[in-house]
């Protein structure tokens, strides 16, 4: 009922832990059963270890949070040696979220990682680094170029993660599809800012950061819907999903699978509640499979 497929990779359910909100699973495994997830997208991985951005990295705003972690991670080798074996113990698909500061780094990361993971998520949308990330991701030509090269060297399906900070996200989606992406995921965080009016300083040291959480949901749903009209590869939707109802909206808008991020901080049980909620919704509404919901909005 819940199984979905992305380019031959079968997810037992369409719920994926969103990159950067779930570490490498270890911490949450002490709290919830990782087998609950259809997949887990890892914390963004870079070639070399990275310390990330200075403090403060986090602030809270109306209905959301702004973060500027800046891709703190142990680097690809440490990931493979120290984190992947642990993740592999669970019956869930592992998606490596990769981040390069130039095309070559993306290629290198895909080469190294694709033999070891189920899918690769090419993060062309990180707003919290000065080079790479979103800078590439805003330009359809760069999206095309990097996607094509990464696809060439990858032995597993690749997902291209798109930034919402653009005039027309469907241009990026089409570029990714044309370049051979197996799927796209959206949205990454929206560039945002908040100011402490007492100190008059930005609440994020890097001044701007990425907005996530319920506040961005209607923007994310709109972008998933727009992309669904324009591309034929599967869409993994995310942005502000707090419960099963939000998840259903994404499916109806055109998402084949969803990722949940910020909600994990608020309610670590979200994955099981959403899973159950989707099942009940399908039963109550006479659908046989979550696949029947995809893009099934009535206009």
């Amino acid at each position: 009922m819940l199984e979905v497929e992305i380019s031959g990779v079968k997810l037992k359910n369409p719920i994926i832990a969103a990159s950067g909100t779930f570490g490498f699973g270890r911490e949450f495994s002490r709290l919830i059963d990782l087998n609950l997830f259809g997949g887990i997208s890892t914390k963004g991985i870079t070639l070399k270890k990275r310390a990330g951005n200075p403090q403060p990295r986090l602030c809270e705003v109306y209905g959301g949070i702004i973060n500027s972690v800046g891709l703190e991670n142990p680097g690809v080798e440490a990931f493979i040696k120290e984190e992947l074996p642990f993740l592999r113990r669970f019956d869930t698909k592992i998606i490596a979220n990769i981040n390069g500061f130039n095309k070559e780094e993306f290629i290198e990361l895909a080469k190294i990682l694709s033999p070891f993971v189920d899918m690769i998520e090419v993060n062309l949308s990180c707003p919290n680094v000065k080079e790479g990330g979103m800078i590439f991701g805003k330009d359809p030509n760069r999206v095309y170029e990097i996607t094509r090269e990464v696809k060439k060297v990858s032995s597993c399906p690749i997902i291209v993660k798109l930034t919402p900070n653009v005039t027309d996200i469907t241009e990026l989606a089409k570029a990714a599809e044309k370049a051979g992406a197996d799927a796209i995921s959206l949205i990454n965080t929206i560039s945002a800012m908040a100011i402490d009016i007492e100190t008059r300083r930005p609440l994020i040291k890097m001044v701007t950061g990425g907005l996530s959480g319920p506040a961005i949901k209607p923007i994310a749903v709109r972008m998933v819907y727009e992309c669904f009209q324009k591309v034929n590869i599967p869409i993994i939707g995310m942005g502000g999903i707090m419960n099963y109802k939000d998840a259903i909206e994404f499916f109806l808008a055109g998402a084949t699978a969803i990722q949940i991020g910020t909600v994990n901080f608020v309610n670590p049980n979200a994955v099981s509640e959403i899973k159950e909620g989707i099942e009940n919704y399908l039963k109550d509404h006479g659908f046989e499979s979550v696949k029947d919901l995809v893009g099934n909005i009535i206009i």
Binding site: A51, V69, E72
Partner: protein, 254 residues
């Protein structure tokens, strides 16, 4: 570490804007070590506030867990309005704890403002381990005092200071502590309080070990989101929620 729905047993104001909340939880009461904290969802299905709020466990008594907190924003405001019987969702215990031992020498405990909360159970444990404990507590003003009787019971000497001198010494806890360092043979110090206080403490270049409890904005509270990272001495990243909140003062940049 567990996710628990608990029923509030009491939630009362104990000083100017300071509340003490308690609830029954055998699990937390047993698992708790001084320095641990919990991440509280002050309102179910709320999107504003959205995140959980971290609070140290002040102390436990039988199966009851006590949390002292100050109302500073929307989250603590909402929490302060909760009544006996209301349910809150608590994630904990989180973080590491203060190292408690029988030290061969006096122990100093230095707390300022809301940083005083986690120190009460620490003192209790330090006394249980038969240490001689000097406690230095700094408050804004006389009307802000809390936990004074409680600290008297678990300390050998208690030094109160207020910023405005309305009671006790005029000045902050570190200044008072500083005047005692030479007279006394401290073996170890423990501290929690606002950043400027901890910086002042660090700049004393103590010749003995000093452990401090830090605060950073937290999203997950368990080491997954990397929002609370700080730089360690060797340049490695430390996570206040999972590597801390207690650190050797020499091991962290503050």
């Amino acid at each position: 570490m567990k996710l628990l729905d608990v029923e509030i047993a009491e939630n009362k104001m104990i000083a100017n804007g300071i509340y003490l909340l308690s609830f029954e939880s055998e699990y937390l009461a047993n698992a708790f070590k001084p320095g641990n904290f919990v991440n509280i969802l002050v309102e179910k299905d709320s999107i504003y506030p959205l995140l959980r709020r971290p609070f140290s466990i002040s102390f436990v008594k039988e199966n009851k867990v006590f949390i002292g907190y100050k109302v500073v924003g929307r989250g603590t405001q909402i929490l302060s309005q909760k009544k006996k019987g209301d349910t809150i969702n608590v994630l904990g215990p989180l973080g590491n704890s203060f190292l408690v031992d029988r030290f061969d020498g006096k122990v100093a405990v230095v707390g300022g403002g809301v940083g005083i909360f986690p120190l009460l159970s620490l003192c209790h444990e330090l006394k249980k381990a038969r240490n001689e404990v000097d406690v230095f507590l700094g408050f804004r003003s006389r009307s802000d005092l809390f936990f004074v009787e409680e600290f008297k019971e678990v300390s050998d000497n208690l030094f109160i200071s207020t910023d405005d001198g309305s009671i006790g010494y005029k000045g902050n806890a570190v200044e008072v502590f500083k005047t005692k360092i030479e007279e006394e043979n401290y073996k170890v110090a423990f501290s929690c309080g606002p950043k400027p206080m901890l910086s002042a403490l660090k700049s004393l270049n103590l010749t003995f070990k000093c452990y401090i409890s830090l605060e950073e904005k937290m999203a997950c509270g368990i080491g997954a989101c990397l929002c609370c990272s700080i730089k360690g001495k060797d340049g490695n990243m430390l996570h206040v929620c999972s590597d801390g909140p207690v650190f050797d003062i020499m091991e962290v940049e503050i």
